[in-house]
Symmetry: C2
Subunit: 308 residues, 2 copies
C-alpha cells in the first residue's frame, strides 16, 4: 500500500574521509523514498528549485516513486553542506541554505489522498502537523525529527508526537527530548508524549524498538526489541542513513497486510539493511543501484549474524 | 572443566549517580570468577593484603571458587577509587593504590595445573605471559587488556596476543590497538596480531565476535556475530561489567564439550547476561545473589528481544 512521505528533497555538498562531492541529490524524503521504493509504492511531497533537473527526478521515478507532489519553485533547492572528516558518526554542518525550502508549504495532490501510510520526515513540526491534518484517514503515521526542533520548537513537536504511531529518532534525540540519560527510561518518557512505538537508532550499533500496549493490543508485547547492523568495512558517507533506515522499515510495514510484532521486528531488520546500503557510497549512489536480490541477501546475512 | 583465572582481587571505592560505596570487594579476577562460577569450576591466582578478610574470601568460596591461589602479602590490597558521576560509560579514576599488587608475581598452585581453560585478566602482559608459560597444556587461553598496556607496554602485549585463542576488549581498546577507527577493519587488524577470535564489547550496545578460520576450521565461518544487551532501567555501578561478561562467556565455553560456532555465540549471550547482573548493584552485590534460574530467564529474555 502507498506511503506518502513529506520532507526535504535537496542537494548535499559533502566531505568525508573517503572524499568530496558537490551538490549530490539528497534530502530526507529522497533517501526515504528510494529505500522504501523496494517494498511499496511511494509518493513524495516536497519542494525543489530550478536546479532540480530531469536527471534528478529520474533517480526517483526510475524506482517507481511518484514525484507529482514535488513542487517547483523559483530559485534554488535546499542545499546542505556538511563534513564528516573529524567524526564519521557526527556531521559537522558547514552551511544550510534553505532556499525554496524556507517558504515550503506542503500541498498534497488529490491523487495522493488515498495513501494509507504517512511518513513525516524531519521538517518543521508545524508543517508535519498540517500534513497530518490533511490526511485524517491514513492507517498509520510515522515520523522523524531532530535536535533543532526538539530544542527550539518543542511545543509544536509535542503536538506532532501525539499523532504518531511510530517515532524514529537517534539516541541523542531521545535523551534530549526526554531529559533522561538512561536509554530505557528515555524511551518510556518519549512514549508518554504520544507515540505508540518508538525506534531509537544507535548508529553503527543497531536500533531498539519500544512498544506501548496501544500498538499491539494484548499482554506481554511490551518488551523492547534489538536489531543489529551489518559490520561494514567502509562507511563512505553516513548522510541519509537514518532516512534510509526509516524507508526500509516503513516500506516493509506498508507492504504487509497488518502490523504485528513480527512485522515490526522484521521491519527493523530491513531498516538496518537499507541503512547499510545508503552509507556505502556518496548520496543516493548505492541505493540507486541496489537490487531486491541484494536486499534479501543482506537480510539473511543480518539474521545469521544475530541469531543463535 | 576448570578455568584458571589470574588477575586482580581488589577493593573499590566508587561513586556513581546512584550513590557511594567505600572499599567494596572488586577486581577483575573477582568479577570474572563470580560470573564464571555459575557455569564451571573456577580457580583464582592473585594477591591480597591483610585487609582481605574471611568474609571477603567467603564471597568467592561460597560460590565454589577455589581461592588457594590467592596469595596473602603484608600490607594492603589493591585499591581503586573511581567515579562515574560525569559519565556512566567512562570511569574517572581518582586513585590507583597498587599496594601488594605492585610486586605481584603469580604463583600457580600444583592443584591448579590440570586446569583446561586459562583466563588472563587485565594485568601486566609480562605476568600474563609468565602464567601462560606455566600452563603450556591448557585447551584454550582467553584474555583481556586495557589502554594502559596498549599504550605503554605494546611490545609485551603483542607477545601475549600471539598466545590467545580469544581476546576480549572494548571498542576504544580495539581502535587504540589497531590504529583503525572502523570497527570491522580494527578487528581484522587485531586478529592479525594473533588471537584466533576477538570479542569487542560495545558497552550498553552489546558486543561483536570476530573469527579467523583458525578457531573454527572450515569455510564460511568467518562472519562476525552480534550479541545484544538487555535494556536496563538502572545501571547502579558499571565496575566489573566487562569482567563479568568475560566470566559468563568463558564459563559457558568451559562447560561445553567443544568450541563450536554455536557455543561461541551462546557464550556471548551468557556474557551479556552476566554483565547485566553485575551493573545492577554496587561491586559484587548482585552477582552474589544471582541464581541459575535468573540467568536462564535473562538468557531467554535476551534471545526473545533479538530474534525474529
Amino acid at each position: 500500500m502507498a506511503i506518502l512521505v513529506v520532507g526535504s528533497v535537496a542537494f548535499d555538498s559533502l566531505e568525508t574521509p573517503s572524499g568530496k562531492r558537490e551538490r549530490v541529490l539528497g534530502g530526507a524524503a529522497t533517501h526515504f523514498a528510494l529505500a522504501a521504493s523496494f517494498f511499496t509504492k511511494v509518493r513524495v511531497v516536497g519542494v525543489v528549485g530550478e536546479d532540480f533537473l530531469p536527471e534528478h527526478e529520474a533517480v526517483l521515478t526510475s524506482k517507481g516513486v511518484d514525484t507529482i507532489g514535488i513542487e517547483r519553485a523559483p530559485g534554488l533547492s535546499f542545499h546542505w553542506t556538511g563534513s564528516y572528516v573529524k567524526d564519521l558518526n557526527a556531521a559537522d554542518t558547514l552551511a544550510t541554505d534553505l532556499n525554496v525550502f524556507a517558504a515550503f508549504e506542503p500541498k498534497i495532490p488529490k491523487s495522493y489522498l488515498d495513501s494509507e501510510y504517512l511518513f513525516l520526515a524531519n521538517i518543521d513540526p508545524v508543517l508535519q502537523l498540517r500534513v497530518r491534518r490533511q490526511m485524517p484517514n491514513v492507517k498509520m503515521v510515522a515520523g522523524d525529527t531532530m535536535n533543532y526542533w526538539i530544542a527550539a520548537h518543542r511545543e509544536n513537536l509535542l503536538k506532532v508526537l501525539k499523532e504518531l504511531d511510530v517515532l524514529l529518532i537517534n539516541d541523542g534525540e531521545a535523551r534530549m527530548l526526554s531529559g533522561e540519560s538512561n536509554g530505557l527510561l528515555a524511551a518510556h518518557e518519549v512514549m508518554h508524549m504520544g507515540p505508540k512505538a518508538l525506534v531509537v537508532k544507535h548508529g553503527e550499533y543497531g536500533s531498539t524498538g519500544y512498544f506501548t500496549e496501544r500498538i499491539f493490543p494484548g499482554p506481554g508485547l511490551s518488551r523492547p526489541f534489538r536489531a543489529p547492523t551489518l559490520p561494514l568495512a567502509e562507511v563512505v558517507d553516513p548522510t541519509g542513513a537514518g532516512d534510509s533506515f526509516a524507508g526500509g522499515f516503513y516500506g516493509y510495514i506498508a507492504s504487509q497486510p497488518a502490523l504485528t510484532p513480527e512485522v515490526f521486528r522484521t521491519a527493523m531488520f530491513y531498516g538496518s539493511v537499507m541503512g547499510s546500503f545508503a552509507v556505502e557510497q556518496f548520496g543516493t549512489e548505492r541505493l540507486q543501484r541496489t537490487t531486491r536480490a541484494e536486499i534479501d541477501e543482506r537480510f539473511q546475512h543480518l539474521r545469521e549474524i544475530s541469531h543463535l
